[in-house]
């Protein structure tokens, strides 16, 4: 969400502190995902002071069958930074979806998005990431031709 380990740690500790304080006062919300929701807003607040990506249209490309092998060549930090640079709510949608811990209903609950919106954000994210992959790791020319 933040693309910055130090900031992520600050948010993590702040979220836990808040949870511990609420638990001590017996005020833990009944809502199942409140901790994640809280962490999400803290992340968005923390990144407000950062340089914001301009709302320009990113290139998009259909997902190719060679994409997984290209993704394997990436450094995980590159992916983290790419996702953190997306504008919210796409950033939250991608982060939660690729954490692979929540199903789509839970993500809708957490992000307060509609199914159509989540679908569009994920589809667009995939296509943009694929285009970025092509830019970062261009296809090698086929020498057999």
């Amino acid at each position: 969400m933040l693309g910055d380990a130090r900031k992520a740690q600050d948010v993590f500790h702040a979220t836990l502190r808040e949870a511990a304080a609420r638990a001590a006062q017996g005020e833990l919300p009944d809502e199942r995902f409140w901790l994640f929701r809280d962490a999400r807003w803290r992340c968005l607040e923390a990144s407000e002071t950062d340089l914001q990506a301009e709302p320009v249209g990113l290139d998009e490309h259909d997902i190719g069958p060679e994409a997984p092998s290209k993704i394997e060549q990436l450094d995980p930090t590159q992916l983290a930074i790419w996702i953190s640079c997306a504008r919210d709510p796409q950033r939250t949608a991608l982060a939660l979806f690729y954490l692979d811990e929540f199903d789509y209903r839970e993500i809708l609950n957490l992000t307060e998005l509609k199914l159509g919106e989540l679908s569009r954000l994920l589809e667009q994210g995939r296509r943009q990431f694929q285009a970025w992959l092509y830019a970062m790791l261009p296809q090698k020319p086929n020498l057999n031709v």
Partner: protein
């Protein structure tokens, strides 16, 4: 394989499909995946998502944060009986089961004391509770002598008061038909304002044989207690308002 024609909602669901089939918990999602799951586009999407998710899993975590997960500080809460019992759903089910069990035990215990004629005896206890002495014909005699009266005046054979209660002085008596047209003899005695009932013993529906039971049996109904015995196809019940201990002294122990 080409992607089959899907509705907009189905396409949206397909875009949000998890990377593993075992993670599909939604029936609609499962249906969409089974319909379009083999298309090239979806296979590409799934491979793409798996690769990204795998990369996300190896994004380095700050060591200070990782420490939180390596210690017991943040660990899944352990399952305990105490927690389970405090769950409102479990609590509600538990209370319901206890109530059902209570009702079943109550009915079982009630059935345990049942004997042929106990239902009639309970009805007569209810009658005893609502009877006023003015309803009865005044008779001042020993209860044992009323057998002749019942036989001669009402044609009731073997409506005999047992010897244990034969010497009790009577205040009044009557003979009436109950709701099943059975002839009931009711005697009111002075002793503790006790009432006696004589009624036909229960019979087997098929054979017509009297359903016998030995000794004395107690029945309870609305603060009334009755002791019932059977002789010659006729049941005798001594009833009074009170508890079993109030009636016990009159019942011969050897015959219980």
């Amino acid at each position: 394989m080409k992607t089959p024609r899907l509705s907009r909602r189905q396409r949206d669901l397909l875009n949000c499909a998890p990377t593993g089939e075992e993670r599909v918990r939604d029936r609609t999602m499962r249906a969409v995946i089974s319909r379009a799951g083999k298309s090239h586009e979806f296979v590409n999407q799934q491979n793409f998502d798996r690769a990204v998710a795998a990369l996300v899993r190896v994004i380095p975590m700050p060591p200070e944060t990782a420490e939180w997960f390596s210690t017991d500080l943040i660990s899944p809460s352990k399952w305990t009986w105490k927690k389970t019992v405090r769950n409102p759903a479990v609590l509600a089910i538990g209370i319901a089961l206890v109530v059902i069990a209570g009702v079943l035990v109550f009915q079982f215990v009630a059935r345990l004391n049942d004997f042929p004629g106990s239902a009639t005896a309970r009805k007569l206890l209810a009658i005893a509770g609502s009877t006023r002495s003015v309803l009865l014909d005044p008779v001042n005699a020993d209860a044992g002598t009323l057998s002749d009266l019942f036989f001669m005046k009402h044609g009731l054979e073997h409506y005999d008061v047992p010897p244990e209660f034969a010497d009790f002085r009577t205040i009044g008596c009557r003979v009436f038909d109950d709701d099943e047209s059975r002839r009931i003899a009711q005697i009111w005695v002075a002793e503790k304002r006790m009432q006696f009932f004589l009624f036909p013993a229960e019979r087997d529906v098929k054979t017509g044989a009297v359903l016998k039971f030995p000794g004395w049996r107690y029945v309870h109904q609305e603060n009334w207690i009755g002791a019932v015995t059977q002789h010659n196809g006729v049941c005798f019940m001594a009833a009074l308002r009170g508890r079993e201990k109030d009636l016990t002294p009159y019942i011969p122990k050897t015959k219980q």
